[in-house]
Symmetry: C2
Subunit: 119 residues, 2 copies
């Protein structure tokens, strides 16, 4: 088995168009021996957000800190915070936002290996 | 998409032989629309532990609160706490323990749908 501290995992700024203030760490992926399922840790600065997009794989979300908003495929803004989880089905348009003026937020996002997903 | 609070998810005492003081909540599974990957929340009372066992699917672990020990396939006790993650490969014997005398611990454990895993 393998274990490590979040801070020892390389952080990468999310540079997709439409991403603002988002940093990703792949906590568990191929480097840790997990080829089929990836666990990523995201942090978003106050006012930050991911792109509004969709893809052919789902998201399993566990909120860790701060407040968040998930924009769903119907354009609804769903509030999420610690002690909550969310599931975004494949192909549903979505966006994660940090609505706070002062507090960074963080969440876990689990996905199947995108390279193994039927396109 | 779907989201809910942990406390609104039914808790089930883990009644496998060798489990002590462990409660499971399936935060994301078939009921939430996720057929391939399940996200479970476990809590363990002080002194509690899961069975020492193995199975043909891995665990992706994110520790949420308290302290834990993961016994690995080589018999080594690995300490884990908040801001850490762990990966237990398929077929590796393992056990989760709460070594604290007073504090409950909690962690996320992600697995593939066991019914879809090659036995």
């Amino acid at each position: 088995m393998f274990l490590h501290k979040d801070k020892d995992v390389k952080e990468v700024a999310m540079d997709m168009e439409g991403a603002v203030g988002v940093v990703k760490r792949v906590l568990i992926g191929p480097q840790e021996g997990s080829d089929d399922t990836f666990m990523r840790l995201f942090t978003m600065k106050p006012g930050g957000h991911t792109p509004k997009h969709s893809h052919p794989y789902p998201h399993l979300i566990k909120w860790l800190s701060g407040m968040g908003v998930i924009l769903d495929g119907e354009g609804k803004e769903n509030k999420i915070e610690v002690n909550m989880s969310a599931f975004v089905p494949k192909d549903e348009e979505h966006q994660f936002r940090n609505p706070s003026d002062y507090e960074t937020c963080s969440f876990i996002c689990v996905i199947p290996n995108p390279d193994k997903v039927e396109k």
